[in-house]
Symmetry: C2
DNA sequence: TCTAAAGTGGAGTGATCACTCCGTTACAAA
DNA sequence: TTTGTAACGGAGTGATCACTCCACTTTAGA
């Protein structure tokens, strides 16, 4: 009746596949074959499909994992003294991770964002919410901004670097503009 | 020796294919088969490939056409009295056109933007440049912004609506933030 | 009107994938 | 150690595409 304990090799392979998929997708886009992912993970294709029943499910899992890690980063920033600066750091971090990485555009596009970001349940919106209200109390962020706008801006800035002629410099200037727009307005 | 005039049916088919491709890509993404595009255009596949040697070339052509039309809209806005408002209108327009349209994300991603936007040669950056300097003279836009940032923000806002829970309302609020950031800062 | 050349349509081709199936292997529980 | 079973690997399958080829049609120019 009671479920048998999960096998050690199964758990190990699952995380290997996730890690390899992230690397390969980032490097070559989500259009790479599942076989390439399997090879990178050092497992057979059958194993990939055992853990992720379709390729779309694999892409979504990789994406959720990325969001989960952003959530963790946001959580750590909640403890910062200057909440406004924490939001600046967070947005910069998102833009930086997405820089030049076609794969995030693919993943964002392929995933149902409303599911991935169900506000009440997931860590990321919760952490962003704390960050935001603290920053608003401190007067660093205008009071009419909500988490929805923050998430939208997160998506938006993750697109900026694709132009990358000047790379990091342009990214920083765009972030400055966005951030100034987030400040309380006269 | 002199080149023969291009055939009327060839020209007609070329623009039919372009128009059909735009419609189909917007509706179903650029992953649709070339055959579907041909069917929508009412021509054979062979004809599509005669005009656009690869599928990537077709996607790029559709995308350039879209940019060209944005360029036209920007050009018309150059004559507006209030250049700041003109930029607001332009950015809103870009966000609106991109709204919910997966295809633009695909197209942006698949195209070499630096080629498509070579500053000196294309209409869009030129028009944006005029718009921008007039707005800066009028004191509506901060002086340290360049066309590169404007284009980057254009890309950025074209991503916002994908979240679309509240659709137009969220889009407007995000645009407000971005636009306030573009104003001269205290 | 005639004709050479450009253009057309769509069956065919080869390559690539996502996904399945099943004989083999490694593990957890007894 | 033994054993039942979950997990593994990877060849195989069917479907889908991008792109080609060529017999036929339409056009521009004479």
């Amino acid at each position: 009746m009671t479920a048998r304990a999960p096998r050690a090799d199964a758990l190990r392979n699952r995380s290997r596949v996730l890690a390899a998929a992230e690397q390969v997708f980032v490097a070559r886009g989500t259009a790479v074959s599942t076989e390439a992912v399997a090879r990178a993970a050092g497992v057979g294709i059958g194993t990939v499909f055992r853990h992720f029943p379709t390729k779309a499910a694999l892409i979504e899992a990789v994406f959720r994992e990325r969001l989960r890690r952003f959530g963790e980063e946001a959580d750590q920033l909640v403890e910062a003294d200057d909440a406004g600066q924490a939001i600046w750091i967070f947005l910069s971090r998102v833009a930086e991770v997405a820089a030049g990485k076609q794969a995030w555009a693919d993943a964002f596009a392929a995933t149902n964002l409303r599911d991935a970001l169900t506000p009440a349940r997931e860590q990321l919106p919760r952490a962003l919410g704390s960050l935001l209200s603290r920053a608003q109390e401190q007067g660093a962020i205008r009071p009419d901004v909500t988490v929805a706008e923050l998430v939208a801006l997160m998506l938006a800035v993750s697109r900026v670097p694709e132009l990358d002629a000047e790379g990091a410099a342009l990214r920083a200037r765009v972030l400055t503009i966005v951030f100034d727009g987030l400040r309380p307005q006269p």
